[in-house]
Symmetry: C2
Subunit: 201 residues, 2 copies
Amino acid sequence: MTEQRTPPRRGRGRRPAAEVRAEVLAATGHLLLREGLKAVTFDRVAREAGSSKVTLYKWWPSPGALAAEAYFAQSEPVLAFPDTGDIRADLISQLTAFVRWLTEEGAATPVSELVGAAQTDPDVARAWTEEYARPRRELARMRLRAAQQQGQLPEDADLDVIVDQLWGACYHRLLVLKVPFDQTLVPRLVDQALYGAARGA
Amino acid sequence: MTEQRTPPRRGRGRRPAAEVRAEVLAATGHLLLREGLKAVTFDRVAREAGSSKVTLYKWWPSPGALAAEAYFAQSEPVLAFPDTGDIRADLISQLTAFVRWLTEEGAATPVSELVGAAQTDPDVARAWTEEYARPRRELARMRLRAAQQQGQLPEDADLDVIVDQLWGACYHRLLVLKVPFDQTLVPRLVDQALYGAARGA
């Protein structure tokens, strides 16, 4: 936990904490997407971000917790929720971005590793659920609530079930079945969630 | 890998392989549900099942792979698919049994641990997907296909998406969101999957 190596940017003088934090999260996010969860150690992150290990230990209880928060920061711009007023179209855009992020932009492995670690490591579980999974569910709920207010979803629709049946369906293939899938799945997911598998029967 | 301890049932003489296999799977299943994945070691299973470790090493590549197969055997009677001719009612029965199995009968922890381990351990991943998750999906598909033939689901319904939106939704709460849920969730899951969240809007 001592600073044995001079951090590369030390010469620039003391940086504000928010700036250091953002740089640490960005460096961790890159490391995670490029090399996976096992590359995220405090040693390696301190080196890549030019920060001290003491700072990392002060801010995060474990490298896994840091990785979960970095994953949220890294994915946030990719996973924004559009609101064009058409809930079907907007869900298709957002879920297409999510599936491509997983399958084409390298997120499938770190996500699997983080959720995997969250099953037995309480620090990773806390960071993953509190810094990523539940805040993202809240963003999805907000978009679905707006659709409800515009009359595109009925008052008694269970919005959490919609979240489970869209994003949860993708996680099911990724983590439980471990079968390949791509963005062509998305319109079927959205249409069956919104209009029902039994429509027309 | 040597037999240092005399297995307790050795005195009964050589048992047929199928019988030994069934006893090993039953002993492992009980151990897994009672004490979790970390209790499943070849030492412990050999002791509980009265079999030799050599046998275990011969039949399973790792304790995790044995645990996954034991979980399938243990859960099979609980998770049978009824066919009363009413797909909505039958899905509600089966999913209620599945949710109670997870939340009241102790399966939530070993399932989480197995899926967690499957994200980084290739032997567990292979055993979990090949011995449990995909065979179970095939059983669900068979029941859904029968409903299709009876005209309760349209010809163009994507049966795999229904599987993702029912069982996958439960796994989403268990593994990704890590929020508590119970069997009262099931009718909403089934109704939104079959009839759509947007019906009536």
